[in-house]
Symmetry: C2
Subunit: 101 residues, 2 copies
């Protein structure tokens, strides 16, 4: 589920920066938009994408909306890559021995 959306979500530079900033500390939309070179609506759209990918979660706090990382989405992507890890390593080692170079 988080594969297609997850990888697409982290493919964009600005969006990945937002994700990293959210990971450092749960923040509101306005706070996140402050240091970036894009407008606040753009940040809001990026957060929507991250939300659909399951990488972040939101909670209301008064009139502000606080975003934080959702570890489940991160875990899903990590697990996906893990499925290829051992297989990839074995294939690569085998080829390296054959090829030598």
């Amino acid at each position: 589920m988080a594969n297609q959306l997850g990888f697409a979500a982290l493919a964009d530079d600005t969006r990945r920066t937002i994700f990293e900033r959210v990971a450092r500390r749960p923040s509101s939309v306005g706070k996140l938009a402050e240091g970036l070179d894009v407008t606040r609506p753009a940040v809001s759209q990026h957060l929507k994408v991250l939300l659909r990918a399951g990488l972040v979660a939101q909670r209301r706090e008064g009139s502000r909306c606080i975003y934080q990382v959702d570890p489940r989405g991160v875990a899903a992507m990590r697990d996906y890559l893990d499925r290829f890890w051992d297989r990839a390593l074995a294939a690569f080692k085998l080829a390296a021995e054959q090829e030598d170079t």
Copy 2:
């Protein structure tokens, strides 16, 4: 290095399918294009993207070009996600306790 390129490479459905098929078994370009609904040049272009992302490696075998997974690229992406894992988990648990629901 493999962050931007890596996530972008796996963001596309067709390209991720190619990647998974390469992971199952090192294959030539023609073999990879057989089961897909895109033409062979498209597969070649996708492999180029995966190559630049460091997710696959190529080796010549006669007139054929065999592609296989490069575990280093996979590891780079895995490590990137790992950096957020503990932090994400802690933040999420804390919020869950505060929020309760």
